[in-house]
């Protein structure tokens, strides 16, 4: 990035991602990785192992890891929603979409055109651009809510009558039809998350390379550095 600096071009830094947000991001990433791997294996178990059943607890362990990761995801999500209220302005980008603001939509379409390689330059944002904001909100935030609710409903099935059963299982299963349908939708939800992760990582890496600001390192340090001029937002 060592291009000859013009007088106006100097590196500036903005503190975007606060520590709880960064911690949440990486714990979430690990939890989702564990959930996808174990979830896939629950749907399609590994080849059977021999011996006596009392000597093994493989599938039980896989399910245990799935449930623990799911609970970490749940607690993390709850704290993240809390942080959206008490954190800085960037902490609420994913949760509060200014859908009633016309300029917001104009910028969404502008970003779309940039990603379709129809526009050369893009505007600079300290946090997420409007397109990223809305796609994360729809696919990730609501995707995670969907996975948490269906996941808890399925967990409540195994646990039997109790708090989780009353709060989730009792209404989610009739809503989808029957238990098997909830399993199927939960499984489809995993693929939505996987698709999101692919796009997310790609966009982050691409941005890091192509743009004049830091992208990946900002989720580690919290600081986003901009070459030449501060961002508008």
């Amino acid at each position: 990035m060592a291009s000859s600096p013009a007088p106006a071009e100097r590196v500036q830094s903005v503190y975007v991602y606060e520590a709880p947000v960064r911690l949440w991001h990486w714990i979430n990433a690990l939890a989702i990785l564990a959930l996808c791997v174990t979830g896939y294996l629950i749907g399609k178990p590994l080849p059977a192992i021999g011996g006596e059943p009392y000597a093994h607890f493989l599938f039980g362990k896989i399910r245990f890891v799935h449930f623990v990761s799911g609970q970490i995801l749940l607690v993390g999500f709850a704290l993240r929603v809390y942080w959206a209220f008490v954190g800085n302005v960037h902490a609420r980008e994913l949760f509060f979409i200014p859908v009633t603001r016309a300029p917001f939509w104009k910028e969404v379409f502008y970003e779309l055109k940039c990603y379709m390689l129809m526009k050369k330059s893009a505007k600079t944002y300290a946090g997420h651009n409007p397109l990223a904001q809305i796609s994360i909100h729809l696919l990730f935030v609501w995707g995670i809510v969907f996975m948490l609710v269906t996941g808890l409903a399925l967990y409540g099935e195994g646990e039997g009558p109790g708090v989780i059963h009353t709060l989730f299982t009792s209404w989610v299963i009739p809503l989808f039809g029957e238990s098997q349908d909830v399993h199927t939708w939960h499984h489809l939800g995993m693929w939505v998350i996987v698709s999101f992760v692919i796009v997310h990582i790609y966009a982050a890496v691409r941005d890091d390379i192509l743009s004049r600001h830091s992208s990946i390192s900002s989720m580690v340090s919290g600081w986003k550095t901009f070459e030449g001029g501060r961002p508008r937002h």
Partner: protein
Amino acid sequence: MATETFYDVMRRQGITRRSFNKFCSLTAAALGLSPAHADEIRHAMETKPRLPVLWLHGLECTCCSESFIRSAHPLAKDVILSMISLDYDDTLMAAAGHQAEAIIAETIEKYDGNFILAVEGNPPLNQEGMSCIIGGRPFLEQLKEAADHCKAIISWGSCASWGCVQAARPNPTQATPVHKVPGLADKPIIKVPGCPPIAEVMTGVISYILTFDRFPELDNQGRPKMFYSQRIHDKCYRRPHFDAGQFVEHFDDEGARKGYCLYKVGCKGPTTYNACSTVRWNGGLSFPIQAGHGCLGCSEDGFWDKGSFYDRLTDINGFGIEANADQIGGAAAGLVGAGVIAHAAASAVKRARSKDAPSSDTSKNTHEDA
């Protein structure tokens, strides 16, 4: 037509008045009630009529009746002859033709608002119900008329509870489960799903209604909790193999001989609410998983439309072709991956080009990532 009370039945079966009085006193003592309550029990036994039941048959295969007559605890004969007054059941009754049909009208008139309507099967709604004709008129009419006058409805089996095979896609006759029939009187409905339901579950439900004069506690889908609150999987005797990760891969492999878990050959035990793994069938002899075959999920809504009985991932209809979650999701993720690669290549080409042109340096992408 019988308006027999419980006392009448006991007398008919050779129990003396003296024994009956003793029974009432002992029952009061056993229940921890004061001696005065013995009179109340006696009064109830002498005046309470046996519960009249109309057992109607719509579109069905009679497997519910077949199951019912095999009940061991209590014996079906005790239920029919001593506990309820089964006024009409075209399969079990001696009368036939117009005489049989006349009994329905008579029961409705005599016990208006006081009889139980047991429905086996369901009515088809298309062609004004012409796909199921009983005694010269659509079953739909007969059902509605009986429902108008009954006290409560028992939906026997998956047909009456969910729709079952005749309601499977594309459901040409529009067979409709009892609780969804438009214009049906708003009466309490108890669902006893299964194809068929377990005999002891059927007689158990009737025994409960008779003993306590009310429905057993129902879950929010209308099934008695006492039999349908747990999955087959929760009490399956092969569950240790599931937790260990020991599965039958094929029906002829070593795992099948050793009685491993049938999850990978499509057992629907983990998603099926029924009492098979505890009550079992044929007097507690066995149940499908014990016989080496996975559960089909016959007591679940729409189990015919979920694709193969031998796959865990069931088909998702409505995508034009039948595909399961992994095929659809995997294809979507693959498309996204391919799109990402194509986009990366296009971005690289575009950047290389703009590097060639010196003027583009100031208009470099500075947008933010996801």
